[in-house]
């Protein structure tokens, strides 16, 4: 990448620089002035936008374990080209979450306390450990890509040997903490609005993250095609339509499973009358279900649409929007009535969040451009007799900004 290319101003570069600059100022203010002066959080609303984004970030990063399990445990190798982008997405998603958590802590200098001060009865303790362990797993899964780049062959052999146990560990950690985010709200049955409160909340969180994580990979594929190539990006990224169509079908299955579970939950707990109560919560619940579940199920039910780029892209946006609405509804909307406070994030909360998202997108772009993130089916993770990784980097050329 030439320095002139980097410095050449484009619309999104200018916008990104502005967002990051504002975010850095907000970060400085947050750490120098404290949470009370820079956020709209207080004792009645201790968790706000940042916690909501933690849920969103982790939920959208779920493709990391679903794709890895699909390919390496269930041996459906058709989806190998998705493994590395999924793992990179997961790693960056978790990195954003970790940064937001540190910013959100009242005493950020004590972030390491859960590592030595164990409270084994706390869901947050489990989440903390799962996040740490899964981030380690993601580093191990992505390490071969970095090692290949710098031609460090020896460790790749050992990473290959431990790859299956590492993937299995990743699936276990992900299953635990994805569902535990839902478990966090099991202790507030009187506070969380009954439209969202359910003893099945951990299962809801788990199923919805599978659908959204896969949709995120589809969405990202289009972003990559849009960012790197002037031609049909799929020819240059090895992310073929049939692979993405297969992922879309998995999204459909997960959405139907989640919807059926929700119907069962509403009937079993007698919550159906709540759907007729006119309130902000009800309208937002309808919006969430409509955008995030019903519309995508309808669109993905047609084979013609599932194989059409335009509809596939729009469907992925719908599913991602559904997860965004769901996580923010659970963490903010559903608690607003009981707290008695109408919370809206401060400028600094929004600014820091946007800065971290922009930095994650920049990091993805930089890594995808310089490392073998997009590789063909047959070469992914394979090592020949000399221990040389055979992964063939797809040349992402002719930037398209």
């Amino acid at each position: 990448m030439k320095i002139n290319d980097i410095l050449k101003p484009t619309f999104w570069k200018v916008v990104s620089v502005i967002i990051v600059t504002m975010g850095l100022f907000s970060t400085y203010y947050r750490f120098s002035l404290g949470l009370g002066l820079t956020t709209n959080l207080h004792d009645s609303v201790p968790w706000g936008l940042w916690i909501g984004f933690d849920f969103i970030g982790v939920g959208l990063a779920a493709a990391g374990f679903t794709i890895a399990a699909t390919v390496h445990i269930f041996h459906i190798h058709k989806y190998e080209p998705l493994v590395r982008p999924a793992i990179l997405t997961a790693f960056l998603g978790y990195s954003v979450v970790v940064c937001l958590l540190v910013v959100d802590l009242g005493r950020p200098e004590n972030f390491w306390h859960p590592l030595v001060m164990w409270n084994i009865h706390s869901v947050m303790f489990e989440i903390t450990w799962c996040l740490i362990c899964y981030t380690t797993v993601l580093i191990l899964e992505f390490a071969p890509v970095v090692l290949e780049k710098f031609k460090i062959k020896a460790p790749i052999k050992y990473l290959k040997i431990i790859s299956i146990p590492v993937v299995i560990a990743g699936v276990i950690f992900s299953t635990l903490h994805q569902s535990s985010f839902g478990s966090l709200y099991l202790i507030v049955p009187g506070k969380l609005h009954p439209l969202w409160y359910s003893s099945l909340l951990p299962v809801h969180f788990y199923i919805s993250c599978i659908a959204a994580g896969l949709s995120m990979i589809i969405f990202e594929s289009f972003l990559i095609a849009r960012a790197f190539t002037k031609k049909d990006g799929f020819h240059h990224t090895e992310l073929k339509m049939d692979i993405l169509s297969g992922a879309s079908f998995a999204v459909l299955i997960a959405l139907i499973a989640g919807f059926l579970l929700k119907i069962y939950d509403f009937i079993d707990n007698g919550k159906l009358p709540l759907l007729t109560v006119p309130s902000t919560e009800t309208y937002l619940f309808y919006l969430e279900i409509l955008i995030g579940t019903l519309v995508p199920i309808f669109l993905l039910s047609y084979k013609k649409l599932i194989e059409d780029k335009k509809w596939m892209y729009l469907t992925s946006i719908c599913v991602i929007s559904g997860l965004v609405l769901n996580r923010l509804n659970v963490s903010i909307t559903g608690l607003a009535a009981s707290s008695g406070v109408n919370y809206f994030p401060s400028f600094d909360e929004i600014s820091i969040t946007m800065m971290l998202v922009v930095l994650a997108i920049f990091a993805f772009r930089l890594i995808a451009k310089n490392f073998a993130v997009f590789v063909s089916n047959e070469s992914e993770n394979s090592v020949n007799e000399n221990g040389t990784a055979k992964s063939k980097q797809i040349i992402l050329s002719e930037r398209y900004e």
């Binding site: 999104w12 289009f222 969430e288 335009k310 596939m312 609405l325 923010l328 903010i332 909307t333 809206f344």
Partner: protein, 223 residues
């Protein structure tokens, strides 16, 4: 309201991106205008026929096991027409032990020779002398080589069949347009309406750069 705000911001950014692309005169990959133009084939009358009993390798050979258990292998429609009409110059020899990836056919488009690789391991049982030195007009008319092989053509990780094969070959033809575009100094001579569904001239290969045939083998004939 936070949920609405975040969702609206997300959708607003996507909308602005589309507007920015529109101002730049470009299109988003998901909304490329008349996407079907890329699906047009590059040869007149080239309606791809995929027999249901054949399997296709990524090196553009077809294969099937006959009733005697021998693996019959030939060149697929893409391989036989990609850069002009293909002539077979030579085949692997009878009795030769072939490894997957070893040369099974050598052919030529005009004066440029290309190698087709064996999609399976096996020992050459017989070679069809009728295809040597002739242009392939119907790729399925006859097999080129028969192998004794224990490999299964039904391995879906290695071979395509049915609609998968059809989609894959169509995709290969679309890729070929980009390949020709990248490898021809004056693309207009190749077929100036190629991207709009126009046909290629019959002598495409002579209009490509010298090193292009090696790139063609790497891009399209490797396994």
């Amino acid at each position: 309201m936070v949920a609405i705000f975040v969702l609206a911001l997300f959708l607003f950014i996507l909308l602005v991106d589309l507007i920015v692309l529109r101002i730049q005169g470009k299109s988003h990959p998901a909304f490329e205008p008349a996407l079907s133009q890329y699906d047009y084939l590059v040869h007149d009358g080239n309606v791809i026929h995929i027999p249901s009993n054949l399997f296709f390798s990524k090196g553009h050979t077809w294969l099937k096991k006959n009733k005697n258990g021998l693996m019959e292998i030939g060149i697929d429609p893409f391989g036989s027409t990609a850069l002009g009409t293909l002539s077979i110059l030579k085949c692997a020899e009878v009795g030769e032990e072939l490894k997957r990836g070893g040369m099974i056919f050598e052919g030529s488009y005009g004066n440029k020779t290309v190698k087709f690789l064996s999609p399976v391991n096996g020992i050459v049982k017989s070679v069809n002398p009728g295809i040597i030195g002739k242009k392939i007009s119907n790729p399925y008319e006859s097999w080129g080589v028969q192998l004794v092989s224990n490999d299964s053509p039904e391995n879906r990780d290695l071979f395509f069949s049915g609609s998968d094969a059809l989609n894959w070959i169509k995709n290969e033809f679309s890729k070929l347009k980009y390949f020709i575009d990248d490898n021809s100094p004056i693309v207009e001579f190749v077929g100036e309406t190629m991207y709009d569904g126009g046909s290629l001239s019959n002598d495409v290969v002579s209009l490509l750069l010298d090193q292009s045939i090696n790139d063609f083998e790497k891009e399209f004939l490797s396994l």
